[in-house]
């Protein structure tokens, strides 16, 4: 290590390519590459994390799964507030999440979603709150952030991607986009500042379907799709 590198190790020196070394209580994300880019080396506790997603289903929940699975080992609740679809128990279980810790809160309006999210964030009985409130007004954001600071759990809010240009008090904002079967993360904002290069993560094994091979592919070819066509329909071309 050169003398210059040693001098630059001084925490009082801030370099443009680095985020400042800040003390943040955190929960490991389960992805070493991502941990390395986050202040506190993990998802922050007691602070909102805003994840911006175009369409639900690109792997955004698998990104959270290792942390959720870890948190489900203690006796507090993991809460899903107003999820976009019905959660499927076997899939959550296969990610290692203890289902007896998971609760789902269904709401009828955006106002109810915000209320329930705030209530859960504030509670010390919840180790993680993941909410889908849709676009959130600035005032509501502040309330959520205050509640997250009080509750000290993992606090994740999913926002539509068009909100990326709008201000948000969440100390950590990450935009997620699909990259084939992987997930690309653009860190828009983090504590300590600094620009981070986009990350592309493999958020878990690709959904393979066990049990398929023994039946054989030909036997189950969807008949209406191949009639009148000798070639395999384009939908069967694997992009993987």
């Amino acid at each position: 290590m050169s003398a210059l590198d040693q001098a630059l190790e001084n925490p009082a020196i801030w370099r443009g390519s680095q985020y400042a070394k800040v003390m943040v209580e955190s929960i490991p994300t389960g992805f070493a590459e991502l941990d390395a880019s986050l202040p506190g080396r993990g998802w922050p506790r007691a602070a909102l994390t805003e994840l911006l997603v175009g369409q639900p289903g690109i792997g955004e929940l698998r990104l959270l799964a290792p942390a959720l699975a870890d948190l489900s080992r203690n006796d507090r609740w993991l809460v899903l507030v107003a999820p976009p679809y019905a959660p499927h128990a076997p899939a959550f279980e296969s990610l290692g999440i203890d289902l007896s810790r998971l609760i789902v809160v269904a709401t009828r309006s955006a106002a109810e979603t915000l209320w329930a999210a705030e209530r859960c964030l504030r509670s010390s009985a919840c180790s993680a709150v993941v909410a889908w409130p849709g676009p959130v007004q600035e005032r509501a954001w502040r309330r959520l952030q205050l509640a997250a600071e009080q509750g000290k759990g993992l606090s994740v809010v999913f926002s539509p991607i068009r909100c990326a240009t709008q201000p948000s008090p969440a100390p950590l904002r990450i935009q997620l986009s699909p990259a084939r079967s992987r997930l690309t993360l653009h860190i828009l904002k983090r504590r300590g500042g600094g620009w981070a290069a986009p990350l592309t993560l493999d958020v878990g094994p690709r959904p393979a379907v066990p049990g398929a091979p023994q039946r054989g592919r030909a036997a189950a070819l969807p008949a209406p799709l191949i009639t009148g066509s000798s070639r395999l329909p384009s939908i069967f071309q694997d992009i993987g």
Binding site: H88, S94, L99, I103, V209, A212, P224, F236, G240
Partner: protein, 477 residues
């Protein structure tokens, strides 16, 4: 025998206090007597400032202060209020006794260590009473009679040695004694006005002239005679009714006062509530009933209040509320957290469930649920809502989508492509799932993993029976 120490909680102007504790704003209030020419029996400080005095006629008082709230005395309400205070006080000591119409006695010698001492305990009781909406003089002395005399004199003192007690008692006016009016008057006529002056007189003459009762009362106060007290046993279920002085009182404010009282009552019993009933009494209509359930027993008044607030926020009252009533309907044993070893490490069960109760009170019981795996091959039946906290049986570890669409969304077929919005690309499959022939909802499906142009990974299937076609059922999330 170890020394006993008694605290007396004395409530001056109890009838007026009952009215004032149900009022959230300060307003002029008086208690008036009945009869053809009602008199003012007592008045609060606001009424006094307007010129109202005890003893003047009601009509004169109203002339001085037109917005006066005048109420008659309600002896039975006073009695049950004292009983509830005694029940509440049971959190400080197991020996609580009612004393006269407006005092409660507590034997506290055994509780001092727990409540950090002779001077801290009365402060704590006084703060607790303020939360209930009461003001009391709290005096502590080695005998119950002495404690009562000191409290009646309005002296908030704590005396634990008899020499000092003697000194203090001697200066008290005789009028505080429980003696008939003529006795006190006769002594006053003789120039005997203090306890000390009375004790100077020859005992035989005093007994001959005023009866043994006077001497006995003084002897009990000084500890020369035994003074056993009947302990108060609270009823198993808490029941309280509070008449509102004005029909516009904020209900939660009043309910809070009762819930704090209920909490002390539960602490005495070592139990927590699982069901609570709030009854709102109206003038001419049937009462409105609000029921609150708790998944785990609780005696935290804030938690109960939070649940009530949610319910009341969505309640339309048919008329003004004249009185509110709270009944503890079901209770279960609840251990004390005060003695747990690492209170901050362990999440109390109560806290764990209060969030569920609160969410349910606002959003409805069905809106908050857990999910559990069910042994069924049909995906739509493999996951079921359940009570939060239900342990799930481990099932097969197949890769399944995190989200399920219910009902499945039918995909469009165009020439040789499957369309959601844009064409889908298949990655793997098929996986044949068959099942349900036994319950009439049978399926035979071939499942594929596909992706769309937005990068979503989808779980789609082709129905091979009945209304054939392609459907989107899951999103891998």
């Amino acid at each position: 025998m170890s020394i006993m120490l008694w605290s007396c909680l004395h409530f001056p102007d109890l009838s007026l206090q009952l009215l004032m504790r149900a009022a959230s704003i300060r307003m002029p209030m008086i208690i008036s007597s009945g009869g053809n020419r009602p008199l003012v029996l007592s008045c609060n400080s606001i009424a006094r400032k307007a010129g109202v005095n005890a003893g003047m006629s009601l009509s004169a008082a109203i002339a001085l202060c037109p917005d006066l709230q005048a109420h008659a005395r309600d002896a039975s309400a006073e009695r049950s209020a004292m009983e509830r205070i005694a029940g509440w006080a049971g959190q400080f000591t197991p020996v609580v006794s009612l004393d006269g119409p407006d005092s409660v006695l507590l034997e506290i010698a055994g509780s001092l260590a727990l409540f950090s001492g002779l001077h801290a305990l009365p402060v704590r009781m006084s703060a607790g009473l303020a939360e209930l909406g009461y003001t009391a003089a709290i005096a502590t002395a080695p005998t119950p009679s002495a404690a009562r005399l000191l409290a009646r004199a309005g002296m908030s003192v704590a005396i634990d040695e008899s020499a000092r007690l003697q000194r203090v008692l001697r200066n008290l006016p005789l009028a505080l004694l429980d003696q008939p009016e003529p006795v006190i008057q006769a002594l006053d006529f003789m120039g005997v006005r203090t306890v000390g002056a009375c004790l100077e007189l020859p005992r035989e003459g005093l007994a001959r002239r005023f009866g043994q009762g006077l001497l006995d009362e003084l002897d009990r106060a000084l500890g020369h005679l035994p003074d056993p007290r009947q302990p108060y046993r609270p009823p198993a279920h808490y029941h309280a009714r509070l008449v509102l002085p004005a029909p516009v009182e904020p209900l939660l404010f009043v309910a809070h006062r009762l819930l704090v009282e209920l909490s002390g009552h539960l602490r005495m019993q070592g139990s927590g509530l699982t069901r609570l009933e709030l009854t709102l009494h109206h003038a001419k209509r049937a009462a409105t009933l609000v029921q609150i359930g708790c998944s785990t027993p609780t005696r935290d008044p804030r938690r109960m209040l939070r649940l009530l607030r949610e319910r009341l926020a969505h309640l339309e009252l048919p008329a003004d509320v004249e009185a509110i009533q709270i009944d503890g309907k079901e209770s279960r044993p609840l251990a004390s957290h005060d003695l747990s070893l690492f209170p901050e490490d362990i999440l109390p069960e109560e806290e764990r469930w209060s969030i569920i109760d609160h969410l349910r009170a606002r959003l409805g019981a069905e809106a908050v649920y857990g999910i559990t795996c069910h042994a069924d091959h049909r995906p739509e039946r493999a996951s079921r809502p359940c009570e939060p906290g239900t342990a799930s049986r481990q099932t097969r570890q197949e890769r399944r989508p995190l989200w399920l669409l219910d009902p499945p969304h039918r995909l469009r077929e165009q020439e040789d492509r499957l369309l959601l919005e844009a064409p889908l690309v298949l990655h793997s499959g098929p996986e044949r799932i068959e099942g349900g022939w036994w319950d009439g909802a049978g399926v035979t499906r071939d499942y594929f993993v596909a992706s769309d142009d937005q990068g979503r990974q989808l779980w789609i299937y082709r129905e091979r029976r009945g209304g054939r076609g392609w459907f989107l059922q899951g999103i891998f999330g």
